[in-house]
Symmetry: C2
């Protein structure tokens, strides 16, 4: 085997461990010995963390880091309501779904009430977003009798064997499946629905029946492409017209990330056949799953056993229920809309005065900011990395995304307030001023 090693956006270069403080380089050496090489750290100088609270993380020296990156601890790091719910449930009962327990039923009912699917819905629970997409794929292939799947050019949908085949962003060493087609990421002036129709026709010309179109409703790994809201509606029509299912991957966009809607697909006014959920669902406890129209699930449910030992267990469900509580009681959706809007407007003003920043895009507290080479006007992954690492030097955590790693990825926990936005903007401004050249 002689594939080149892939470059990970914002990945630590292990050959430079000797440049780090001795404690960090010693832990990194032990880590490299004990963990498989596929593990990657973030940043030129990895961050060692010992504590988190709200929108801050802390290292062993007690220094705080403003977290403008992590959407998993969506209601805030170490939220006491979640901790208490988990601890109480863990001290009481933690078992699987082949016994009757009311918690998983109540949670499923509560979750389904927030969805607007193509028909009355049902839920199934897994532990990870990868498993949720993997299950959605199994269901879609059985329901349609087709195998073809269409995704965007730099999509990411998971790390199981079947979902890695749908994830071009994993790079050329992870081949796409033979029945997978990609379409260019949505862009202004491009007819995205026509591109999908073209891919459907290409599948058909190869004798492959369409199973599903699958998209992250925010197109995060494609560079954060939320607008204009509604552009996905004709795609859903095209896909259904061809007998395929529309699967909305809400691992990134779900649970009020966008501020205005609980689910990213609702911004686009569509009613998906299957929705996949993950990351923020349990604020870090491993819970994920799908919601799908009952009609779509019926045959799979009748003929197939699917039992996920830890999926929907009482402890993870307690965490997930606590997340819904906090979203409701702490006004986080409204905060995501308000702080997100303020952040986007302020960052746009900053970008207007900076030769390095280009377009600022976002919905709620999910922002993408283009970084460009002032000399050429081209997207610059190197400069984006410089900004990301510069901000890390000022203890503000973000990362980068997009096919060239040239898009700043800003995706903080939802309690991120105006004062945190101001801190973020001040540091971004300083880092831009300090860029070489």
């Amino acid at each position: 085997m002689s594939e080149p090693a892939p470059v990970m956006v914002n990945g630590f270069d292990g050959t430079r461990a000797a440049d780090l403080p001795p404690e960090a380089s010693e832990l990194i050496a032990r880590r490299e010995a004990a963990l498989g090489g596929a593990y990657r750290l973030f940043y030129e100088q990895p961050v060692e963390l010992v504590r988190g609270a709200g929108v801050f993380l802390y290292d062993s020296a007690g220094r705080s880091y403003l977290d403008a990156y992590n959407n998993v601890p969506s209601v805030g790091h170490s939220h006491p309501h979640v901790t208490e719910a988990v601890a109480r449930q863990l001290a009481t009962l933690n078992t699987h779904t082949r016994y009757l327990t009311d918690g998983v039923v109540r949670y499923a009912e509560r979750l389904l009430a927030t969805h607007t699917l193509s028909g009355p819905g049902q839920a199934m629970f897994t532990c990870t977003g990868s498993e949720a997409v993997d299950l959605a794929l199994r269901v879609a292939r059985q329901y349609t009798g087709g195998t073809g799947v269409i995704v965007t050019a730099n999509a990411y949908h998971g790390v199981t064997a079947a979902t890695a085949e749908l994830s071009p962003s994993l790079g050329p060493n992870v081949p796409l499946g033979p029945h997978v087609r990609t379409v260019p990421a949505p862009a202004a002036g491009v007819n995205f629905s026509a591109a999908v129709a073209w891919a459907i026709a290409d599948l058909a010309r190869h004798g492959v029946r369409l199973a599903a179109f699958l998209a992250d409703s925010l197109f995060s790994s494609d560079g954060v492409l939320p607008d204009p809201a509604g552009f996905l509606a004709p795609v859903a029509e095209t896909v259904r017209g061809a007998g395929g299912l529309y699967i909305a991957d809400e691992v990134q966009a779900g649970f009020w990330r966008t501020g205005t809607h609980m689910w990213g697909y609702q911004r686009h006014g569509i009613t998906p056949d299957i929705v996949t959920m993950g990351k923020p669902m349990g604020n870090g406890l491993p819970i994920a799953g799908i919601a799908a129209s009952r009609d779509v699930l019926a045959e799979f449910g009748r003929t197939t056993r699917y039992f996920n030992t830890f999926g929907g267990n009482p402890v993870c469900v307690a965490a997930a229920s606590a997340v819904l509580d906090v979203l409701e009681t702490e006004g986080l959706p409204a905060n995501a809309a308000a702080t997100g809007g303020y952040l986007r407007d302020s960052a746009s003003r900053l970008a207007a005065g900076s030769p390095v920043l280009g377009s600022v895009r976002g919905a709620g507290l999910y922002l993408g900011i283009d970084v460009i080479d002032p000399a050429t006007g081209a997207p610059s992954g190197d400069l984006a990395a410089a900004v990301v690492n510069g901000m890390r030097g000022h203890r503000v955590l973000i990362s980068a995304t997009g096919p060239r790693g040239s898009v700043l990825k800003v995706r903080p926990p939802l309690p991120f307030g105006r004062e945190h936005a101001d801190q973020f903007l001040a540091v971004l401004s300083d880092v831009l001023a300090d860029l070489p050249g």
Copy 2:
């Protein structure tokens, strides 16, 4: 689609919900409305649970059930040391592995020290056993350049698309993958290694290179086949001689279940290339993973990004570390060996006097007991179901396994003591006496 609905061993028949007490049938109706139909309940009369402690589970009326089935809460239901470790970590920090944290490194070191692999090892963490097997498969296929996989005739290895293809026990509606071959489960007087060699030759004749032989070291779903210890050693040689990897699936056998060895493969004196771990690892918190020789992981690690958002997070690692603590401090391995031996001997005596029970097999606290039709001497899934449901009526929880569902599956939490074994045996004896005919 018109496949027949599969019959699940010990599955509840939903058409009989009306026969249940009103509260249970109401919850079951809500459950069926809210959860996908692939969810199945155990028992003719499903058990509704609200609390667990040690080896007992409790329903809402406060009635206790002796748990002789659940190997996930391996150190006992609601173990306070696990609860405390999880609550403390959750209140402190829960994040992913792209930041440096020392817990995951320390746990990996501690775990690797217990393994005896084909070379110095490394660990990778996932959330579920399915994900662990799925990852092992990706690694094995990349390392060998082959795609062929050999499993036993009624194996179960997971529910992702790729692992369901390796799981004949899921039934005919879930087709095996084209590069998968099955071998008969190991049996006395059968040359198991020769059967594996035959399957390797068949793959080769189809132009398929071997990637791996994959087996649960206890062959649970094949009917619990632990003996004689050592019979797997020649298989490992055969597989390696053909360029394949030996993957030991320790989701069932691992973490001292067998009493004498921390890992089931160690009973057989083999040094696997990859080990998959799951169920009991975090006593119910979703943590799983693989351990593999560094050589096997090297190329995958160099060329492939594998990032499991929740995999190896500090909270699940805290649970897993606490499990290792309890296994050490509470003498559970010795108890598994002692109680397991007592249970096996006593059950064998009971079987000798019963026309319904046949062979009693087991290692530590994992027992399989054949149920046979006295009239024909043939294995009887119906009578096994009658025993399982009869014991449930006496509030002792077990299930059944094997290709015909004719093997009683006894697999309690490891604190299961002699008094619990006696309670189990007394109830089993009563249920046998009450069987019709």
